[in-house]
Symmetry: C2
Amino acid sequence: MTDDGRKEPSTREAALAWESLFRAQVALMRRFQRDDVWGPLTIREYDVLFTLSGCPGGSARLRELAENSLLTQPSLSRLVERLEVDGWVTRGPVEGDGRGVAVTLTPAGTELQREVGRRHARSIRHFVGGALDADELATMKALTDKLRAAQAGIPDA
Amino acid sequence: MTDDGRKEPSTREAALAWESLFRAQVALMRRFQRDDVWGPLTIREYDVLFTLSGCPGGSARLRELAENSLLTQPSLSRLVERLEVDGWVTRGPVEGDGRGVAVTLTPAGTELQREVGRRHARSIRHFVGGALDADELATMKALTDKLRAAQAGIPDA
DNA sequence: TGTTGGTCCATGCGTACGCATGGAACGGAG
DNA sequence: CTCCGTTCCATGCGTACGCATGGACCAACA
């Protein structure tokens, strides 16, 4: 028991829960990858556009994007470069910091993200909504939200 | 409502739950990737050894491994080729099917998987067990188990 | 102001990836 | 037995990836 009264989980309990979470994510991701909804984008490129769509002004620093991605910073740098060539984002200076690069959705990028997002959302409803009911989804979301939020407060090793 | 009485989730509910699950998995995976526990393996190579360690005789067909991986079949084929060169697995014929390739852990591969697995498990306890208590982990595991199991029964589109 | 340490992004390079394809083996029909 | 469609794995090829590094900029301090 910890001092806040929660029941400290064993290594085994934590490992089983993580494995289940991981496997579920892999199984779903495989289906989503196969979906014919991504248009000219890869799933990783869509993820960046999606992240941008949730940022104020559809704009974020490269560094912020890298924090929410499994890609390394150099890989993300080149992915954004490709997105710019294809006209979905622009790169510009960050006001007040000459080092930074501001990545901003173009109107075309915004529109593409919305289109793909709509199709993807239908697929999510099919595969996720078809497996769990509304209460179960709410419970799962609350737990995964808490799991992610806690990461900010857990030191590295 | 469906005819079995469960409350049919909206697209929004399903999308929010999936996004939360996805983001939690990405956040944790980033920490695990940074962990200095993988020895000579990449995280994807470890995943294959781990999967094999749970198969009877530490052996599985290439096709079975591909089903539980985000890699494509050609990529997995070459990953296994590298694992064989490094001595962690062997490739052999499948009895009764001349097309198949049986991938089998060597003693060294078994030992390596166990070592890395122990270190990784400690990290899981730290980052996952440090965020949710035992009851919460059990609830999350039950939901993600159900989510993954349901995929087998949901048609493609 | 000059220096030093840290942050942010880009680039060279070797490797692993996905896509398209090919060859070998299975299985059922005629 | 032969054919034909399917399954399973390997390989050629172009591209994206991660690692190591470098240059530009920021912030703090002597």
